[in-house]
C-alpha cells in the first residue's frame, strides 16, 4: 500500500486561506468548549475532594447532616469532646478540635451601601488553623476583634474587585465595620471563597450562642470512637460525619450541574462538528476530479482517505493546541461562583487530553464522511466533474 507523501497534505491546507481559517477556528473553538467544560467539572470535583480531609470528623447537629449552615450544636461540645474522647490529635497539648460557625451573611461595602453581597462567613478559634492545615495566611495576620481574614477567592464569590478586600479595607456587617487583617489561601478547597472572623465576634453579631460544627482531627482514634461518643451523649443531639464523606455528598448534589455543563458543551460542539463537516465536504468536493486522477494513476482509496484525513487531523491538532494554550492562558485557576462558594477551573492533564481528544474526534468525524462520499464515486464519473 503506497501512501501519498505526508507533506502534500500540509500543502493542501494552503489551498484556501479562508477555509483554513474557518476550520482552524472551528476546531479550536470546539476544543476550547470541551476544555472549559472539563476544567469546570474537574475544578469542582477537585475542590470537593481536597476540601475533605480523611482524618477529620465533623460533629453536626442531628437532622442537619446535609447542611452545615443549618446545624446548631452547643457551645460546650468542643470541651466535652476534648475531655471524653481519647486519641484526638494534639500539638503541644492543644487538641485539634475546632468549634466553628459557618453561615451565609449579607455584607455591604459601605455603611449606607444600598447593595449587599451574600458572603460565606466562618467564625473560628485559633484551633481552626490546626484542623485545616491547607489554610496558609499569605498576607497580614489572623483576625483580632472585629477583624476578618479573607480567602483568595472571596472577592470572586462576591463578584467584587479583589482590591475591595485588601488589607485595611472594611466591610459592613450587622451595622458595624469589619477590617481586613489578612488574606489566606487554601488551594483547591471551598474555604478559599470564605471570610473568616473570630468565633466570638461572629456569635455576638449574629446573636447566637451555639456553633454550626466542631471539626476534629483524629490521631489514634477512629471515627467510630466519635460515633460512640455521640451515642453515649444523646442529649447533645450530635452526628459524626467524616469530612471526606460530607464533601463527597456535597459533590453528588452538584452532579446534575456538571451534567448540564457537559451536555451543553457537547451540543454546541456537535453544532461545530456539523459546520466542520460542511466545510470539509465543500473542500473535498472541489477536488473530486483531482482525486479521480490520482486513482487513475493507481493510488488506492485508502491512500486518498489517509491523505484527506491527515489534512483534517493537522487542522484538528493545531486547533486543539490553540485551545490548550488559550485554556492555560485564560482559564486555568479562573474563579467560578457557585452557591456553595467558589472554585478555580482546573486545566490539568485529564482536561487537556479531553480537549485534544475532542479536537481529534472532530478531525476524524468531520472529514471521514466527506472523504468517503467523494471517493464513493466511480473514477470515470469523478473525472467528468
Amino acid at each position: 500500500m503506497k501512501l501519498i507523501p505526508w507533506d502534500y497534505a500540509v500543502r493542501n491546507l494552503g489551498r484556501n486561506t479562508m477555509r483554513l481559517a474557518m476550520s482552524l477556528g472551528g476546531s479550536a473553538l470546539v476544543a476550547l468548549l470541551i476544555l472549559s467544560a472539563a476544567a469546570f467539572v474537574r475544578g469542582m470535583e477537585r475542590s470537593m475532594k481536597v476540601s475533605g480531609n480523611a482524618k477529620n470528623v465533623l460533629l453536626i447537629g442531628a437532622g442537619s447532616e446535609e447542611s452545615l449552615e443549618r446545624s446548631e450544636i452547643g457551645n460546650g461540645v468542643a470541651s466535652i469532646v476534648a475531655a471524653s474522647v481519647q486519641g484526638i490529635k494534639t500539638q503541644l497539648g492543644v487538641p485539634y478540635i475546632s468549634p466553628e460557625v459557618q453561615m451565609a451573611a449579607l455584607i455591604r461595602l459601605e455603611k449606607e451601601d444600598p447593595e449587599s453581597y451574600l458572603s460565606l462567613f466562618r467564625g473560628v478559634t485559633p484551633s481552626a488553623y490546626l484542623v485545616h492545615p491547607q489554610v496558609r495566611i499569605t498576607e497580614g495576620r489572623s483576625p483580632g476583634a472585629n477583624e476578618i481574614l479573607v480567602g483568595r477567592l472571596a472577592s470572586a464569590r462576591l463578584g467584587i474587585p479583589d482590591a475591595k478586600l485588601a488589607i485595611g479595607k472594611t466591610i459592613w456587617f450587622d451595622g458595624r465595620p469589619w477590617t481586613v487583617s489578612g488574606r489566606f489561601e487554601a488551594p483547591n478547597t471551598v474555604m478559599e471563597a470564605e471570610i473568616w472572623s473570630p468565633l466570638k465576634d461572629l456569635q455576638i453579631a449574629t446573636r447566637r450562642d451555639n456553633v454550626s460544627t466542631v471539626v476534629i482531627t483524629l490521631d489514634d482514634a477512629e471515627i467510630d470512637d466519635i460515633k460512640d461518643f455521640c451515642q453515649q451523649r444523646l442529649d447533645l443531639e450530635l452526628v459524626a460525619v467524616s469530612e471526606s464523606d460530607y464533601y463527597a455528598k456535597l459533590a453528588q448534589f452538584y452532579r446534575p450541574v456538571q451534567g448540564i455543563v457537559w451536555i451543553t458543551a457537547i451540543l454546541i460542539a456537535l453544532g461545530g462538528m456539523f459546520g466542520g463537516l460542511n466545510t470539509m465536504y465543500a473542500a473535498f468536493a472541489a477536488r473530486t476530479r483531482e482525486l479521480g486522477m490520482l486513482q487513475v494513476l493507481g493510488y488506492g482509496r485508502f491512500a486518498l482517505i489517509a491523505n484527506l484525513m491527515q489534512e483534517s487531523l493537522i487542522i484538528a491538532a493545531a486547533g486543539g493546541l490553540i485551545a490548550v494554550a488559550a485554556g492555560f492562558a485564560l482559564l486555568d485557576g479562573l474563579a467560578v461562583r457557585i452557591t456553595m462558594g467558589a472554585f478555580g477551573l482546573a486545566v490539568d492533564t485529564t482536561v487537556i487530553v479531553s480537549a485534544l481528544a475532542a479536537a481529534f474526534a472532530l478531525g476524524i468525524i468531520g472529514a471521514l464522511p466527506p472523504a468517503l462520499q467523494c471517493l464513493r464515486m466511480p473514477i470515470a464519473e469523478a473525472l467528468k466533474k
Binding site: V296, I379, L383
Partner: protein
C-alpha cells in the same frame, strides 16, 4: 492474437428505469505499437471505451484482453496496480495537482513503485526533458501556460514507461500551435518509444497524426483507414 482484444464489449449505465448503452457488442483489435484515433459525435461512447481500455471502468459484459490479461473480471485493487504498470493517461484538462510543482506532479506515479529518490530523479528529469520543460521543474501549474501544463501531464503519463498511452481530447483546450506541438510529441512517443497510443479527438487534423482512425456511432464502430 492482437495486443488489445475487445469481444462483444458492452457497457450499460442504469439511470432509474432507463438503461443507456454507450457501447454495444463492440469488437475491436489493436496491435501493439499502433497509434489509433477514436472519433465520433459527442455522446457516442468514446470516453466510455477509452476508460474501459485504460482499466478505469469495467465492462458490463463481453471480454477485454490486454496483453493476454482479461480485465473485465479483475478486482478493483488489482486493476489499480495494473493501471500503474501499464497505462499513461492524458486528460483534456491536464489534471495537474495545483499545490505540487511540475517536478512533483511528474513524480506522483513513481511514488507507487519502489524506486529510490535518485532513480525517481533520473526518471522525472528524463520525462521533463523529453517534453521540453527542463527549465520548469519548480514551477507550479498556475505559473505555466495551457500548452506547458499539458506537456507536464504528458511527462507524468510517460514517466513510468507504460506500454499504452491513452489520451482523451488532449488538444481540446489548446490553441493551434500548442495543439500541433502536443501532437508532434505524441507522434514521437509512438514512433521512437513504441508506445501504443489510443487517442480520442473531435478534430480531423489531430486525428490525421494517427495511423488509423475509427469512428464510433451509437456504440458501434465504423472503420475507416486513413
Amino acid at each position: 492474437m492482437s495486443y488489445i482484444e475487445c469481444r462483444k464489449l458492452t457497457r450499460a449505465f442504469h439511470k432509474g428505469d432507463t438503461v443507456i448503452k454507450p457501447l454495444r457488442d463492440l469488437d475491436l483489435d489493436i496491435e501493439e505499437g499502433m497509434f489509433l484515433a477514436l472519433m465520433g459525435p459527442s455522446g457516442s461512447g468514446k470516453t466510455t471505451l477509452l476508460n474501459l481500455l485504460a482499466g478505469i471502468d469495467t465492462a458490463t459484459s463481453g471480454s477485454l484482453k490486454i496483453g493476454g490479461i482479461e480485465l473485465t473480471s479483475m478486482p478493483r485493487s488489482r486493476l489499480a496496480s495494473w493501471r500503474a504498470d501499464t497505462i499513461g493517461y492524458i486528460f483534456q484538462l491536464y489534471n495537474l495537482v495545483p499545490v505540487l510543482t511540475a517536478y512533483e506532479n511528474v513524480e506522483l506515479p513513481l511514488l507507487l513503485h519502489n524506486y529510490s529518490k535518485k532513480e525517481r530523479h533520473a526518471k522525472v528529469s528524463l520525462a521533463l526533458d523529453l517534453v521540453g520543460l527542463a527549465d520548469r521543474y519548480d514551477h507550479y501549474p498556475r505559473q505555466l501556460s495551457g500548452g506547458q501544463e499539458q506537456r507536464v501531464a504528458i511527462a507524468r503519463a510517460i514517466v513510468g514507461d507504460p506500454k499504452i498511452i491513452v489520451a482523451d481530447e488532449p488538444t481540446g483546450d489548446l490553441d493551434a500551435a500548442a495543439a500541433a506541438a502536443t501532437m508532434a510529441m505524441l507522434k514521437r512517443l509512438n514512433i521512437e518509444f513504441k508506445k501504443t497510443m489510443i487517442m480520442v479527438t473531435h478534430d480531423p487534423k489531430t486525428a490525421a497524426v494517427a495511423q488509423k482512425t475509427l469512428h464510433l456511432e451509437k456504440g458501434q464502430l465504423i472503420e475507416n483507414n486513413a
